[in-house]
């Protein structure tokens, strides 16, 4: 029973609080609180984001990956094109620590290869007596770091005259791991550039169409309709066909990225447009208009944030589409060209039943793709939550 309440059903007595009362009393803010209460919105989001463990981990993972592509040459045990004719289609080698019960440090067993002339397969057997200790920060295949400095230091290399194929080798005896590391360069950037292009277009065009409505909307809608009604492959084919022959692989890469981006904005634009068509009737839009805000500001500051979750989800879902989109092109022979390598290309090369039956390790590039996609999605979750005012 509390002071202010009589027992159930009893008449109410007149209760007056006796606690001291000061209408001017305001709880003083501590310095720490002041920092929090006056922080900018971005900072707030960052704080909220940090609380999302998985998102933070994903973010760090992605950051690490992007850092990795800067030093791919150093991280990869071999160079992109280093072939090892004696180890074609070699399965992954296990890194071991103990040899005959003794700790030796990381090593692999040497391998012997025999040709099975009946089935035309290469059979690899571990040679348990041949302990090949891995070397670290060692000198291996020489490369040109960033295309400028001659160097030959690698994070890890096989023993002298030994081999180390942690993820096996492909049909030319190239180290799959190294190729995955190099492939990250293209795959990780193509998605971002593509997304940047398509999201900019999608949001700007869809935003203006949805916000302004009327004729602008009509015209934009028809353009989108026209673009959408052609399946993407013919469009790719047509655009790839007009890419000049003489373009260098890197230009082709950029070209393809832009093509991917250019063709991808329509869906987003339509989504943005239809959402804004509804949202623009909200009072806060009116309020912003009455403040004299220009449409770009209203779209950018008021409407699009209300749509952020969708955008983030779309972006994180589109990135794999972009990473793998060029595989479709490569599949049709229109994609990137060697010496440029991407995860998509590695996977396209693994396109046959024999690979699935005999050389499944050639499918390992799927693993980074999956990880990256997961990471982007969890990162997206974190961003979404950080931007969510209700959290």
């Amino acid at each position: 029973m509390t002071a202010s309440l009589p027992p159930s059903g009893a008449p109410l007595s007149h209760y007056v609080s006796t606690a001291p009362f000061d209408p001017y009393s305001v709880e003083a803010m501590t310095a720490g609180q002041a920092k929090i209460f006056q922080a900018s919105q971005l900072r707030l989001m960052w704080w909220k984001f940090k609380k999302h463990r998985i998102a933070l981990a994903s973010g760090i993972f992605l950051l690490a990956l992007y850092l990795m592509i800067v030093v791919a040459e150093f991280l990869a045990p071999y160079n992109l094109h280093t072939r090892n004719m004696d180890f074609i289609h070699a399965p992954p080698q296990r890194v071991r620590l103990f040899h005959e019960g003794q700790l030796v440090g990381p090593f692999v067993y040497g391998r012997t290869m025999t040709l099975d002339m009946d089935t035309l397969r290469r059979v690899y057997a571990d040679d348990k007596s041949d302990v090949q200790r891995l070397r670290f920060f060692c000198s291996g295949d020489p490369y040109k770091f960033w295309g400028i400095w001659e160097a030959s230091t690698h994070l890890v290399c096989p023993a002298k005259d030994g081999e180390f194929f942690a993820l096996g080798t492909d049909r030319l005896g190239r180290d799959v791991l190294s190729r995955i590391i190099y492939g990250a360069r293209i795959s990780l950037t193509i998605g971002l550039i593509g997304i940047a292009v398509s999201f900019t277009l999608g949001i700007v065009i869809g935003g203006f169409a949805g916000y302004h409505g009327g004729v602008i909307d009509l015209v934009v809608q028809r353009i989108i309709e026209v673009l959408q009604s052609i399946p993407s492959i013919p469009l790719w084919m047509a655009l790839a066909a007009i890419m000049p022959v003489s373009w260098s692989p890197i230009l082709v890469y950029l070209g393809i990225t832009v093509i991917l981006g250019l063709l991808d904005w329509t869906g987003l634009a339509r989504a943005v447009r239809s959402k804004l068509l509804a949202l623009r009737e909200e009072d806060y839009v009116l309020a912003a208009q009455l403040m004299g805000a220009r449409s770009s500001r209203i779209i950018g500051r008021h409407l699009v944030p209300g749509f952020m979750s969708h955008l983030i989800a779309s972006a994180t879902i589109t990135i794999p589409g972009m990473i793998l989109g060029e595989t479709a092109l490569s599949f049709l022979g229109l994609g990137l060209r060697p010496p440029i390598t991407s995860w998509g290309i590695l996977l396209t090369e693994a396109r046959s039943v024999s690979v699935i039956a005999f050389y499944p390790w050639l499918l390992y590039p799927m693993i980074p793709v999956i990880l990256v996609i997961l990471a982007f999605n969890f990162l997206g979750d974190g961003l979404r939550d950080a931007a969510d005012p209700y959290k």
């Binding site: 074609i88 089935t119 035309l120 049909r171 005896g173 022959v245 022979g333 060697p338 090369e349 024999s354």
Partner: protein, 613 residues
């Protein structure tokens, strides 16, 4: 007499009298295939075989593999009369063909000289049908032959100058047509048909005029018209478009085995259309009974592995191309600096010697291929070791020396050679990008050439634009298969060795010159190329095998010494999958379009299902 047993398959029709008995169906003198002499066994009727084709157009495989020709090659590439009872020729100018008496089209109508006459007079020489005149193969030095019907079973074609190619064209996998079933085709010909009916036929078919209709209805190479009577072992029952084509035995087929059983043994062939990419998977899942097309050496392991699971057998045949992959420097390249280099034999030799063929062999062919220049195979009677080894050894030092000599001495800091005009020596090679094999080889070659200071980058583009771009000089190098027929006899045409066609990407402009009878393109400028053309012309006029052999030898020597195309390996292996119950499929064979017509010369009509196995 031989005991003529009827195939079970035809029993029903025989029963209700729709078909006459075998004796009446066969020509008086059938072609007897002596299987025992071929180390094979006569077999039993019955069964159907499934095959997979990569696209509807590939039903032509039935014509190729069926290999019923007026004259055809046997296993040893000797010419034999097949549909003809006999033929003879005088000085390669006059060819006399004798038909088999009682030979019938697949609908039972007699096959006679009228069919030749109809085709000659009403089709080939009809101005509406052929406004541009006769096909090139029928012309010798631009002149047509004389056609005569000697007697009801004999026709003759006579030229003024020798036409040594003529019989070979009839024996080729894509044969020159000389006869059509006149009784059937006449309904589409205004000369014979009732105009009203014909008009209706034209309308129904959606063609514009009778020539279109006639062409559509008379396709023999792609047997798309199920109604068109044929002489092949199997006849098509399915009208395209379709995903599965059913071919059924031709009850009037003219071949028998030594026991007198009418061929083919197998009653029906199903051709299933599938994406080319999954043919190996399907073959490895036992979904085909006889398959070579669509399979590649790289699929062998997988197929071999499937032998344990499915009743299939995988054999390895040898491919007949001069080189499985060949690099063709375009001597008609538009870029002056490069053109001059390509035309310099030292440069071509250097390119060839800078390639480590052994590595490629090891990587892509398990070391089983033959490292060789782009030339003929040892199976050819014309073969000489020196062709194979001509500039095909791996000798980067010599290559370096040669490159220095041709004026590529200057190098960039990264070792890349510089052209005399200062540009880096970086070449672009065009690839159709259709097989990973090509990609792999190019990747290796790129590396090899980089060792001698030359850069190579690959550009994949649709093959169809190659020809026009090569003609326009836009292509520097391209990658293709080597010469088609790697096992020629002297009687076969050496045209692949000389600039004779615009599809020869090493000299398309010169080839066009020859092809167009010197109307288009340019005459070859290199003396060696000129000489090749000259020799080609000589061969065309030749009338004896010995003469042709000398010509071949000289041409082969020039071609290999000059390294007009850079061969890498040949004699690569082709997996052939067949049902384990099928007998008579050779364990080893030569596989190629020309001259073996894929399996054609091994007579698939003699393959049979062993019910007891």
């Amino acid at each position: 007499a031989l005991a003529l047993e009827e195939p079970e398959f035809l029993k029903e029709k025989l029963g209700d009298g729709a078909l006459p008995p075998m004796a009446e169906r066969l020509p008086k003198v059938p072609r007897v295939v002596n299987l025992a002499a071929m180390d094979r066994k006569p077999g039993q009727y019955g069964g159907s075989a499934r095959m997979i084709i990569g696209s509807q157009k590939d039903i032509r495989l039935m014509t190729i593999n069926g290999y019923a020709r007026l004259v055809g090659f046997d296993e040893h590439l000797a010419l034999q009369p097949d549909i003809l009872e006999s033929f003879d020729q005088i000085e390669n100018r006059a060819y006399t063909f004798r038909l088999r008496e009682g030979h019938r089209w697949s609908d039972g109508h007699p096959f006679t000289v009228d069919d030749f006459a109809y085709y000659w007079e009403d089709v080939l020489n009809n101005k509406e049908m052929r406004p541009r005149g006769l096909p090139l193969d029928l012309l010798s030095e631009g002149k047509p032959p004389r056609f005569e019907v000697i007697d009801p079973l004999t026709v003759r074609y006579t030229w003024d100058v020798p036409n040594p190619d003529f019989l070979l064209r009839l024996a080729s996998p894509q044969p020159l047509t000389l006869a059509l079933p006149a009784h059937y085709m006449k309904q589409f010909h205004p000369k014979y048909a009732d105009p009203e009916t014909l008009k209706k036929l034209i309308e129904d078919s959606g063609s514009d005029d009778w020539t279109g209709l006639h062409i559509d209805m008379s396709r023999t190479y792609r047997p798309e018209n199920p109604e068109l009577p044929t002489l092949d072992p199997w006849r098509n029952l399915t009208k395209p478009p379709a995903e599965q084509f059913i071919f059924e035995r031709n009850p009037f087929y003219h071949r028998v085995d030594e026991t007198g059983q009418q061929l083919p043994y197998i009653d029906r062939i199903f051709l299933n259309v599938s994406a080319p990419g999954i043919i190996p998977a399907k073959a490895g899942a036992g979904e085909t009974d006889l398959q070579a097309g669509g399979l590649d050496f790289a699929d062998y392991t997988f197929l071999k592995d499937a032998e344990d699971r499915y009743p299939i057998r995988v054999s390895l045949w040898e491919r007949t191309q001069g080189s499985r992959v060949a690099l063709l420097p375009n001597l008609n390249c538009g870029d002056k600096a490069w053109r001059d280099l390509f035309r310099d034999v030292r440069f071509r030799r250097a390119l060839s010697m800078a390639i480590d063929r052994e590595e490629i062999n090891k990587a892509s062919f398990f070391g089983l291929a033959r490292e060789s220049a782009d030339t003929i195979l040892p199976q050819s009677p014309l073969f000489k070791e020196e062709y194979q080894h001509a500039w095909a050894q791996f000798d980067p030092d010599l290559a370096d020396k040669l490159l220095d000599e041709v004026g590529l001495k200057e190098r960039r800091s990264d070792g890349l050679r510089l052209l005399p005009d200062g540009r880096p020596a970086s070449m672009i090679i065009e690839s159709a990008g259709e097989s990973t094999l090509e990609t792999d080889v190019l990747e290796l070659v790129t590396d090899h050439w980089r060792q001698v200071g030359l850069a190579l980058s690959v550009r994949t583009s649709q093959r169809d634009v190659f020809r026009s771009r090569a003609l326009g000089g836009e292509i520097m190098l391209s990658v293709q298969q080597g010469i088609d027929n790697g096992i020629p006899t002297p009687d076969m045409s050496p045209s692949a060795l000389a600039p004779t066609g615009d599809e020869q990407l090493q000299w398309p402009v010169w080839g066009l010159h020859y092809l167009s009878a010197e109307q288009k393109g340019e005459a070859p400028e290199l003396p060696e190329a000129k000489r090749l053309v000259e020799l080609m012309r000589q061969w065309k006029r030749s009338s004896s095998t010995a003469e042709r052999e000398t010509i071949w030898t000289e041409m082969l020597t020039i071609y290999t010494q000059q390294v007009f195309s850079i061969g890498i390996v040949n004699g690569t292996l082709q997996p052939v999958v067949s049902n384990r119950k099928i007998r008579n499929v050779p364990e080893n064979g030569l596989y190629g379009f020309d001259p073996t017509a894929f399996m054609g010369v091994y007579l698939p009509d003699t393959f049979w299902y062993d019910g007891s196995a």
